[in-house]
C-alpha cells in the first residue's frame, strides 16, 4: 500500500478532482472575476493575481453549454507545460475549501461512466474512490491546452 497526499477539490456536488501538493498554490474566497466575451463557457472570466491575469475555469462546466458560476471559491493551481518552461497558473472554481487527503493507490478505480463518455476522458490521468465517490486526477496542462479547448468547442 502506498499513500500519497493530495488536495480534494469539490467542483460540484457530484464531481471532485484531486490536485497534487506541488500544483496547489492557495485558495481564494470571493475572488473578483472579470468576464471576457467570446471565450469558452467553462472558462469565460479572469482574475488578477500576483500581477497577472489568470483564467478562471469551471471544470464541472466543461460538458455544459453555460456555467452557473455560483461557486464563490477558487483554487489557484500552478502547472508547467514542459520541463524548463515557466510555471503558469489557473484558478479552478470549487464549492468549498480544498481538503487535504491521503490517497491509497489500492483505491484506484475505473472512470465513472459519465466521464468515460465525455471529453474530460481525454485529460483524466487516473481516478480513485474517496468517501464512496469517484475522484479524478486531471492532466492540468492538457486542460489548459489549445487542443482541449478545440475539443470542448467541437463537442458543443
Amino acid at each position: 500500500m502506498t499513500l500519497t497526499s493530495a488536495w480534494l477539490l469539490e467542483c460540484s456536488e457530484s464531481f471532485s478532482i484531486a490536485i497534487s501538493d506541488h500544483e496547489m498554490v492557495e485558495y481564494v474566497q470571493s475572488p473578483v472575476c472579470y468576464g471576457i466575451p467570446a471565450t469558452p463557457p467553462y472558462c469565460n472570466s479572469v482574475m488578477f493575481w500576483q500581477n497577472d491575469f489568470i483564467p478562471v475555469m469551471d471544470v464541472a462546466g466543461v460538458n455544459k453549454t453555460a456555467t452557473e458560476q455560483a461557486n464563490d471559491i477558487v483554487c489557484i493551481l500552478n502547472y508547467q507545460v514542459a520541463p524548463m518552461l515557466p510555471l503558469q497558473s489557473i484558478a479552478v472554481r470549487a464549492n468549498k475549501a480544498p481538503e487535504k487527503i491521503q490517497v491509497d493507490d489500492q483505491l484506484a478505480c475505473d472512470f465513472p461512466q459519465e466521464i468515460s463518455a465525455s471529453i474530460l476522458s481525454n485529460i483524466v490521468l487516473s481516478s480513485f474512490t474517496h468517501a464512496d465517490q469517484s475522484v479524478l486526477v486531471l492532466d492540468i496542462p492538457k486542460l489548459c491546452s489549445a487542443e482541449f479547448r478545440q475539443l470542448a468547442n467541437a463537442s458543443r
Partner: protein, 146 residues
C-alpha cells in the same frame, strides 16, 4: 522604452482598446447614415469620401440592432489605405502604456477562433480588452455579421 497609445472605447460597461494611430476620425452619432448593407452594422459613417460600417456592440461583443441612446460617439478605424470599421461607443479616450509588460496576453485556454480580444490590461481597477485592427475587422465583418 516602448510606449503605446491606445484608443479606449467604453460601452455597456466594457473597455475596448485599439491602436490610436489607426483612428481615422471621431464623430458624433448624429453624423451616422443609418442606411447600410453590412450585416450587423447600424449604419455607415461617411468620411474622406469613403464609407465605414458602424457597429454598436454589447459587453459580450454581440451587435445591437438598435443603437442605445447612451452610445454617442463614432470612432472610425483605418486598415492601411482601406477603410475598416466604426465602433459606436458611450465614451472615447486614450490610454498610454509605457511598460509593455502591463499588457497581458489572453491565455491559450481562453482563445477561440472568433475572439478578437488578444490581451488584457488593468487600469484604475478597470479591466480593458486589447484587440488589433485586423482581428477586429475580421470579427466584425465575419463573426458579428454572421
Amino acid at each position: 522604452m516602448d510606449t503605446k497609445i491606445l484608443a479606449v472605447m467604453s460601452f455597456d460597461g466594457c473597455h475596448l482598446l485599439l491602436p490610436q494611430q489607426s483612428v481615422q476620425t471621431i464623430e458624433v452619432i448624429g453624423n451616422l447614415d443609418r442606411q447600410t448593407d453590412t450585416a450587423g452594422a447600424i449604419g455607415n459613417l461617411k468620411s474622406a469620401g469613403r464609407e465605414w460600417p458602424a457597429f454598436a456592440l454589447t459587453a459580450d461583443l454581440k451587435p445591437y440592432l438598435e443603437c442605445p441612446e447612451s452610445y454617442k460617439f463614432c470612432v472610425a478605424f483605418n486598415l492601411g489605405v482601406d477603410a475598416a470599421f466604426t465602433i459606436v461607443c458611450e465614451e472615447v479616450s486614450t490610454v498610454t502604456v509605457d511598460n509593455s509588460n502591463e499588457i497581458k496576453p489572453l491565455q491559450t485556454c481562453m482563445r477561440t477562433s472568433g475572439n478578437p480580444i488578444e490581451a488584457l490590461l488593468l487600469r484604475d481597477n478597470k479591466l480593458m480588452m486589447v484587440s488589433d485592427i485586423e482581428a477586429m475587422q475580421q470579427f466584425l465583418l465575419k463573426d458579428v455579421a454572421a
